[in-house]
């Protein structure tokens, strides 16, 4: 275990961040398809996907046992597991790793829950800062509209109901998302996010995203080498 940034890897890391409904998953999915089509060494990693920690997280959420601190830690555990088993080895092996949500999701969400911001940054200090972080920004009402019309069954923690913002789950979700957005916006300069206009069409955004990826990353390094 060495500190973040003290090691250089041949791989590169691209992350997308933004509120639910910001369109980030669609965009990173299209980037993935594009790079696969070009025959590149690319891997797509989803937030919250490791097996072992998942049970505990589910149980904690179902029984509402989690406090802001343990909520944060259980997600950090999950992230560390995925980072060390998957993301880090891939970066070492020279892959282009795409992440739908990264540590900034935790920074935003957990800070809204009252966790200390400096503590969060130190805890996740082992994770490498992405080579490109795309933040999909759009007005809160637009993001809320997309979520609330498509998926009316909000989950307890997702809506920030543990924070007692409002007894009404939809209202709680609105307040929670607004605060998460504020946290994201305060991180734009801190972590050098590239801000995307999430109100534009999917296609127009994707054209911009692909250009940004090409500018930031030498894709030629990620062509598969075939062994004869």
């Amino acid at each position: 275990m060495t500190a973040a940034g003290s090691e250089t890897f041949p791989g590169k890391l691209i992350a997308v961040e933004g509120l639910d409904g910001s369109g980030k998953s669609t965009q990173i999915h299209l980037v993935h398809k594009w790079l696969l089509g070009k025959g590149h060494r690319v891997f797509f990693s989803e937030w919250n996907s490791s097996v072992l920690v998942r049970e505990a997280t589910r149980k904690g959420k179902r029984r509402q046992l989690l406090t802001p601190t343990t909520f944060s830690l259980i997600h950090a555990t999950d992230f560390a597991d995925r980072y060390e088993r998957q993301i880090l080895p891939l970066l070492r092996a020279g892959y282009l790793v795409l992440c739908d949500r990264y540590i900034f999701t935790a920074f935003a969400r957990d800070a809204v829950r009252g966790c200390d911001r400096a503590w969060l940054r130190r805890m996740y200090g082992f994770a490498r800062i992405p080579d490109l972080t795309l933040f999909f920004k759009l007005p809160l009402d637009v993001a809320l509209g997309r979520i609330l019309e498509g998926r009316p069954q909000l989950k307890f923690f997702e809506a920030g109901m543990d924070l007692d913002l409002s007894p009404d789950i939809t209202e709680s979700f609105r307040i929670f998302q607004r605060r998460v957005l504020d946290e994201y916006l305060s991180m734009v300069d801190e972590f050098g996010f590239t801000v995307m206009d999430g109100t534009q069409s999917v296609h127009r955004q994707q054209v911009i995203v692909r250009r940004l990826v090409q500018e930031r990353i030498d894709l030629g390094l990620f062509r598969k080498r075939y062994v004869q």
Binding site: M1, L52, A56, T67, T77, R113, D116, W119, R122
Partner: protein, 267 residues
């Protein structure tokens, strides 16, 4: 009450000024007699009229079972396992220790963050990172570190278990394929981390090579001092609040200590 602090980072949602209890931590390796001593101390404290809560590592509802599973499979990286332990620790801190302290209990903790930190550091975690993760822990009112020679520990282990424990022998650390050698090396490393931490965190060392009764007497004497300090601060607080009322109960702690029962000494 003794004012409470954390190790540098605020604990979300907890008002430390409301924690009127006393937090006492007993640290030490397996077979150093921690749990025996805690049982004796709990009896003694209750006889003295203190409400006592006992807490120990890896007993939480939240991730206790998953941690056991993870350890059995030995599939998690040291960092992941370290964070898993931290989750478990904070779950117990927030759901066990904090409510007990708020209710004015004397909390006896069977190990605390120091064992977790030492284990993580021995397995390669950066000491600063580990300290940072645990910086929301409440600073105990006293930490007693039971130390015993490896010879004593080994002898006691074989008396009760007939074999060495995989994790207490650090068999996951690749120190040696030989269990006994691995145990010796691992315990030395853990101990050396404890001595490094001792300066920073101010543990009181307690010689656990002695008999159970001797260690018990020693601990009682030291804990009595902590309780006296808490009592003195409480007196000052209440007498400031209502100076006209001189209603104070006055069983001297020393008097109560004399009533302690003698336990037959186990070898």
């Amino acid at each position: 009450m003794i004012p409470k602090y954390t190790y540098g980072t605020a604990l979300a949602g907890v008002d430390l000024s409301k924690l009127s209890g006393t937090l006492i931590v007993i640290e030490g390796p397996d077979s150093s007699g921690r749990s025996t001593q805690i049982t004796l101390l709990a009896q003694w404290l209750e006889e003295q009229g203190h409400a006592v809560a006992q807490v120990g590592l890896r007993r939480s509802n939240l991730v206790g079972r998953e941690l056991e599973q993870a350890k059995q499979g030995n599939v998690l990286s040291p960092r992941t396992l370290g964070l898993f332990y931290a989750t478990d620790f904070y779950d117990q801190l927030e759901n066990g220790i904090v409510p007990a302290l708020r209710a004015g209990f004397v909390v006896l903790a069977d190990r605390y963050i120091y064992t977790l930190m030492a284990r993580a550091i021995v397995r390669g975690a950066e000491p600063d990172w580990v300290a940072s993760v645990y910086s929301m822990a409440i600073v105990p009112d006293a930490v007693f570190y039971l130390t015993a020679s490896l010879a004593t520990l080994v002898q006691r282990t074989f008396q009760t278990h007939s074999e060495l424990d995989y994790w207490e022998s650090g068999m996951d650390c690749g120190l040696s394929r030989d269990w006994f050698q691995s145990y010796v090396r691992y315990q030395r490393r853990i101990r050396s981390e404890f001595f490094k931490m001792q300066k920073k965190y101010g543990f009181e060392l307690v010689n656990a090579n002695r008999t159970i009764a001797a260690v018990d007497r020693d601990l009682r004497g030291r804990i009595q001092l902590v309780l006296n300090r808490a009592e003195a601060l409480e007196t000052r607080r209440t007498s400031r609040g209502r100076a006209e009322q001189h209603v104070r109960t006055s069983e001297s702690p020393q008097g109560a200590a004399i009533r302690r029962r003698r336990k037959p000494e186990a070898v």
